[in-house]
């Protein structure tokens, strides 16, 4: 593999990052669906997206040790973020934290790559666009791994998904953590609980994942662990096809599977 992704989960770091409080007021959140935009720079590209005339900065290209996965041109992206008061980057209002989720269907209208211009720089980029200096951009990755020290009691793990999607490469780290933990627990049983998410957008609409996605996620997790050597009889799966309610605050957490490892 081009580089090893050992982060715990793609989005776990965001849980620990509390939304900034601006003057004691609730943070301003923006949740929207729009095309991503690539703003090239002299080093790595910035990723932006526009909503209601405002461009927002999402992140930069680094490598697969990062918690931020840049979205895809050719797809619209669901952006769920908090407006920060940090200086603009690449002309965009900084969203921090931010969760980006490419929508599954192709949209070839999302195709904008803007050329590099002198006023947009990313001096904080941890690695250049080509070969690294000998280490990954984030080494160790921002998310810490699960402590595998005994005692090995019951423990829950969460996997968060892109909208309407199943397991992707970035889940391999979390799946490995669960698998390794289950190996430590004598007679481990895995309880897999999957949900169907929804997100309240800033325009008031609610975006709901497709029916059946919860069942598909639960069954896939069981199949994956079975493929890795876990007995199917040691796994219990449940799913809830009713979408979780959305209030526009960290709704990305509703696109979730919880795996509880029990002795």
């Amino acid at each position: 593999m081009t580089a090893m992704r050992s982060r715990l989960i793609a989005l776990a770091a965001l849980v620990a990052v509390s939304a900034p409080q601006l003057g004691g007021q609730a943070p301003k959140r923006v949740n929207f669906v729009s095309c991503p935009i690539v703003q090239d720079t002299a080093t790595v590209p910035c990723w932006l997206s526009a909503y209601e005339g405002q461009e927002y900065y999402l992140g930069i290209q680094t490598d697969i040790s990062a918690d931020f996965d840049p979205p895809y041109l050719g797809h619209q992206v669901l952006v769920e973020g908090v407006v920060s008061d940090e200086p603009r980057i690449c002309g965009g209002v900084v969203l921090k934290p931010v969760v980006v989720s490419p929508l599954p269907e192709l949209d070839q209208s999302c195709s904008v790559i803007r050329p590099a211009v002198p006023q947009f720089t990313v001096p904080f980029a941890p690695r250049p666009p080509g070969p690294s200096g000998g280490r990954l951009a984030f080494d160790p990755p921002p998310s810490s791994s699960v402590d595998l020290k005994p005692p090995y009691g019951a423990r829950s793990f969460e996997l968060f998904y892109d909208f309407d999607m199943l397991v992707m490469g970035r889940h391999s780290g979390m799946l490995t953590e669960i698998f390794n933990y289950a190996q430590k627990v004598p007679g481990a049983r895995l309880r897999v609980a999957a949900g169907r998410g929804s997100t309240k957008l800033s325009n008031g609409k609610v975006l709901t994942e497709r029916p059946g996605i919860a069942k598909a996620r639960a069954e896939e997790i069981v199949e994956l662990f079975q493929g890795a050597g876990v007995s199917k009889s040691a796994m219990q799966l449940i799913w809830r096809d009713d979408p979780e309610s959305a209030d526009g605050v960290d709704d990305w957490r509703s696109r979730r599977v919880t795996v509880r490892v029990e002795p």
Binding site: T2, D69, L106, G130, L166, F179
Partner: protein, 527 residues
């Protein structure tokens, strides 16, 4: 490198240096030369019984390939890699010829047809022919082997797990074009009683395998590209690199040998444990790389690039990501960056070529471009597009493969990027490869970059995994011994290194200059 310099040396003489002295000077021919200067036949027929020397050079159009056996010379008499242990007269060596970097070039296949009237076991009906049902003696029946060096790979459809249970694929498959007739053949096709799909692929190098099989950097119980469970060695349970075959279907050298003996050699029984041990031991001790270049001269002289030549491969670290400036994919050093001109025409031309090779390395390593819509690279955290370089994907130290789980869709088999003949009233070029239409089912997400309907010449990894996102994803091959084993890509669609470079230039709109292309080709030709 300017083509003028290359053409100056067209009537080249190979000068092979071994150890400290010049041992031979031989015109390019169909022989190899041992380290002791003794000629050795180029073609290794099964059961030949000769001794394979510890070191041997084989001439090719760009110079000479070096083969190095770290275990020393071996007597091939009775050796299961060299003996026709199956029922069709072939041996492993039939398609893994030392002169062809332990692979098989299309030129060698044509030479065998010419020399044997098509009677060589290489052309066995099972997979040395476009389809077993075609007339055996007609060269047209073997066109893919003769024109592109392709072997028929026939796989069950739908795919099966190792235990034989069926996988429910995420897509349906239709045959759109079937120039070989095999995918619509009533006995061998998709609609036959034992539904089979035939794709056509190049034999891979059976050399430098310590790199290919290393399960180190990036190995994980769940594949970091797609989260699927990683394959394991069925005997030890250890995780494997899944880097050996175009579709990663065999996890170990051992299972690959068993499978290859049953299919390619049509072995009716089973390989014995001692036979397997000998095959694997041999495959694990053979190294192959270009050692002499007609324009660059001796590639392994002191002060030269540390990556070049087969001996360098014996010492390289395995499982190492080289996409960085501490290890490098191909360490080239500084020695060829800037070389003197002395007024000696030959020496100056050699130095100019060496500088071109050094520049070509830097094009490979540092020249950024937008990598776009490439499944299993853009989808693994880099975004689409990603501004990166060749070495982003081709990152394994010393080979240019991926370190593990090396399948990607760079467009070599999937349309719209795969090379297709023009279709027009004015074109007489006929398509050689089958074309399939794959439709991702409504119950799954469409392919991330190609949508729900995909046309492909070879579904690649998807024929094993059944996954929509694996359609056309092919495990990358080594970048070594390239001069000895044209054509390139799994479907042999690039006849030359220049065509290989041109493919990527088109695919990613890199806009290489002519000089960059020449430099890159020259660099690749020395590996």
């Amino acid at each position: 490198m300017p083509s003028t310099i290359r053409s100056r040396s067209a009537a080249f003489v190979i000068a092979a240096f071994v150890g400290t002295g010049l041992l031979l000077a031989a015109a390019a021919s169909s022989i190899g030369v041992t380290a002791q200067g003794q000629p050795i036949g180029r073609w290794w027929p099964p059961g030949d019984g000769r001794t394979l020397p510890a070191a041997v050079d084989y001439a090719n159009a760009d110079g000479a390939l070096g083969i190095l056996n770290t275990a020393g010379a071996i007597d091939t008499t009775g050796h299961p890699f060299f003996e026709p242990i199956g029922t069709n007269g072939r041996a492993c060596v039939t398609c893994h010829q030392p002169s062809d970097a332990m692979s098989l070039s299309a030129a060698t296949a044509r030479e065998r047809w010419r020399d044997t009237g098509g009677k060589d076991p290489l052309f066995a009906a099972i997979d040395g022919k476009n389809c077993p049902s075609l007339p055996q003696d007609d060269p047209a029946s073997h066109s893919l082997l003769l024109n592109r060096g392709l072997i028929r790979v026939f796989l069950p459809w739908p795919p099966q797990k190792a235990d034989g249970t069926r996988i429910d694929p995420e897509f349906t498959i239709e045959v759109v074009r079937d120039p070989t007739g095999c995918n619509t053949d009533p006995q061998y096709g998709l609609a036959s009683s034992s539904a089979t799909i035939s794709v056509y692929r190049r034999p891979r190098m059976a050399a430098n395998l310590k790199y290919v099989t290393a399960a180190q950097f990036g190995v994980s119980p769940f594949i970091v590209k797609n989260g699927q469970p990683a394959a394991r060695d069925p005997e030890t349970g250890a995780l494997v690199s899944m880097n050996m075959m175009a579709d990663a279907r065999e996890p170990t050298l051992r299972t690959q040998a068993v499978s290859a003996a049953a299919t390619h050699l049509q072995l009716s029984g089973q390989l014995t444990a001692p036979q397997l041990d000998r095959i694997i031991a041999f495959e694990s001790q053979i190294y192959a790389a270009q050692r002499v270049h007609r324009d660059a001269g001796n590639l392994v002289e002191p002060g030269g690039p540390p990556a070049l030549g087969p001996a360098a491969l014996t010492g390289g670290s395995t499982g190492t990501l080289g996409n960085n400036t501490t290890r490098f994919v191909f360490p080239m050093g500084e020695g060829w960056k800037s070389l003197p001109r002395t007024g000696d025409g030959n020496a100056d031309a050699r130095n100019a070529f060496r500088e071109s090779v050094a520049r070509g390395h830097d094009v490979f390593f540092f020249r950024t471009f937008w990598i776009r819509d490439a499944m299993h690279i853009n989808s693994v955290g880099l975004g689409n597009p990603a501004k990166r370089t060749c070495s982003t994907c081709h990152g394994m130290h010393m080979t240019g493969m991926d370190t593990v789980y090396g399948w990607m869709d760079t467009g070599t088999t999937n349309l719209p990027w795969a090379k297709e003949p023009p279709v027009s009233p004015w074109s007489t070029e006929a398509a050689e490869l089958p074309l399939f239409k794959l439709t991702c089912k409504a119950t799954v997400a469409p392919h991330t970059f190609l949508g729900r309907v995909i046309y492909t010449q070879d579904p690649g990894r998807a024929l094993i995994s059944g996954k929509c996102n694996d359609i056309g994803a092919i495990v990358m091959q080594q970048f070594r011994g390239l001069a000895a084993r044209a054509p390139y890509f799994s479907n042999g669609s690039a006849r030359t290194l220049r065509e290989l470079v041109d493919f990527y230039d088109r695919r990613y709109n890199i806009q290489y200059s002519d000089r960059e292309k020449d430099d890159l080709v020259n660099f690749l030709s020395t590996l």
